[in-house]
Amino acid sequence: MPAYVNFVVAGFLTGAVYGLMALGLSVIFGVVRIVNFAHGEMMVLGMYGTIMLNQYLGLDPLLCAPLDAAVLFGLGFALQRGLINRYIMRPEHEQFILMLGIATLLTSSMLMGFGPDARNVQPDYALDSYELGSLVLDKVRVFAAAGAFVSVGLLWGFFRFTRTGKAIRACADNQVGAQVVGLDVKRLYAVTFGIGAACVGAAGTFMLLLVDVQPYLAGDYTLLSFIIVIIGGLGSMPGALLGGLLIGVSEGLSAYLITPSLKSLISFGLLIVVLLIRPEGLLGRRA
């Protein structure tokens, strides 16, 4: 089996976590139409949350995921309800600035609270791996990806089968119509933001299995989320997942073919091309 296959598969698995992360952003933008510049910050918050749960409650990181998601849901809900809801109708650049401000606040708060040094979790299986023929897969990567896929599945089920999920989709399709039918749009927005935050919280937990956390990662993750969502299609959930997998694989390949540190170059290059040629992304609809 050619050597690059390991890289591609590893990238695919990482991409699943990216996909979950981007899904959160896609959900938020697709419904609430807010460009969440604090997305990466929320993810890093989730990562630190997992560190704390792991440290003080001794929980295995995978078990932290639902807890993390729940806490971040609450935060997201409160944020939207309390603050962001007022900005839905305001000019775009004011929304941006608000989210930028929140992002800066979050990053610096985490810096103050946790310090600048990198931290990580060390689950028992950290150094184990599965072997399929000549394919070597780190257990952590497999578990992270599994967690991500499960989360995406749960989300899909939520939007497809629950009442709230359907109501949110109605809002996304036709906000005025939704109000006419009596849906409490503001509350649904808050729920949606909460869900987006929960996605990113869970994604953070899974990501922690793969990388160390420090406050300055946040900006990179925000940008990465945007790259994925735009390439996959703003407002399209399958698109976010697909975009995540694509970016994961491309990062894996570029790590193999060229220097790892240039992997972001490809991602940004792709972003530029997509923004220019096909801003609605691979699977999105025109905003």
Binding site: H93, F96, P116, F268, L271
Partner: protein, 328 residues
């Protein structure tokens, strides 16, 4: 050029100018260095304001132009001994071309609003990673300018005390202020504001929207690069990860946002507030051993301003002091 407010304001401005000119003789090097930071922020904020405040184009990747100005001038100086002022001109040219390229691509493809802002970030970050691997200018390890101790300041070589940079930046800030005011009074200024308010209506009145938007971007980029070059010779070291980072772009816009986007004095007021309080936060932070206090304060300032006073501090101050609408 009319002076708003008439004789009283003219006198106040004259006194302020005089005070600013003699200030370096009365304050120590620490205060002077803070003032230099303030002037950089005031100048950069005004440059960004031309693109956003006047023409309504949100750029979140402005660090790109400052960085290009810095690297081009510094590299030419370090590698070829090119005099700094010529290097600065080269840096300005490169930044102008970069701005023109980004603008042309974006506008031809109809990329606006959110997407345009993201595109500016993408180009900036792309360039950052490129420079990280560009070993001829030091790569991620950085580029260093030789520092010589001189007995006097050498403006031609841009080697000198903080006071020298203070006066240079003071002159630049004043110049861009006068330039902005002049442009706003002429057709180009009116056309920019029209484009900012309503592009379709502007077009129906005979305005070539593409051309005027390009002009705003190129001017803003070129002016920003000047500060970048000066920064290189002031700090004497350059790293892609500090110069081109998005955090730097956010820093550039924070001043004008706080002070008032689209106004003349807004970026200056904003820069002043942020620099002085930011310094206070840094001092307090190291005293109490709390890292990141200054960034926290910047973030809080952004959120508070957008919440309570979205048009910025300057319009509010102007209203309170009853200076009238003319004192933009």
């Amino acid at each position: 050029m009319r002076i708003p407010g008439g004789g009283r304001t003219a006198l106040a401005l004259a006194l302020l100018a005089a005070a600013l000119l003699v200030l370096p003789f009365f304050v120590g090097n620490y205060v002077l260095s803070v003032l230099v930071v303030f002037l950089f922020a005031a100048y950069l904020g005004q440059c960004w304001n031309i693109m956003m405040g006047f023409a309504g184009l949100l750029s979140l990747g402005h660090a790109l132009y400052a960085g290009l100005g810095a690297y081009v001038s510094a590299a030419l100086y370090v590698r070829f001994g090119v005099p700094p002022w010529f290097g600065l001109i080269a840096g300005v040219a490169v930044a102008a071309v970069a701005g023109a390229g980004i603008a042309a691509l974006s506008f031809r493809f109809g990329v606006t609003g959110v997407y345009f802002a993201l595109l500016t970030i993408a180009f900036d970050e792309f360039t950052r990673i490129l420079f990280d691997h560009f070993d001829w200018v030091g790569g991620s390890a950085g580029l260093f300018l030789p520092v010589k101790t001189l007995t006097h300041s050498d403006v031609w070589q841009l080697r000198g005390s903080p006071a020298m940079f203070y006066y240079l930046l003071l002159a630049l800030s004043a110049a861009v202020l006068v330039l902005s005011r002049t442009l706003l009074d002429r057709r180009i200024g009116y056309y920019w504001l029209a484009i900012r308010e309503d592009q379709a209506a502007a077009q129906s009145l005979g305005i070539d929207v593409f051309r005027y938007k390009m002009a705003a971007v190129i001017l803003s980029a070129a002016l920003t690069a000047v500060a970048g070059a000066l920064q290189a010779f002031y700090d004497n070291n350059l790293y892609p990860d500090t110069i081109f980072t998005t955090a730097r772009s956010v820093e550039i816009i924070t001043g004008p946002v706080i002070g008032g986007v689209g106004t003349l004095f807004g970026p200056i007021v904003g820069a002043f507030v942020l620099t002085t309080l930011g310094e206070a936060m840094t001092v307090a932070g190291s005293y109490f051993g709390v890292p990141g206090l200054k960034q926290w304060f910047y973030g809080a300032a952004l959120v508070i301003i957008v919440l309570l006073q979205p048009s910025g501090l300057w319009p509010w101050i102007r209203r309170s002091l009853r200076l009238g609408e003319d004192a933009r």
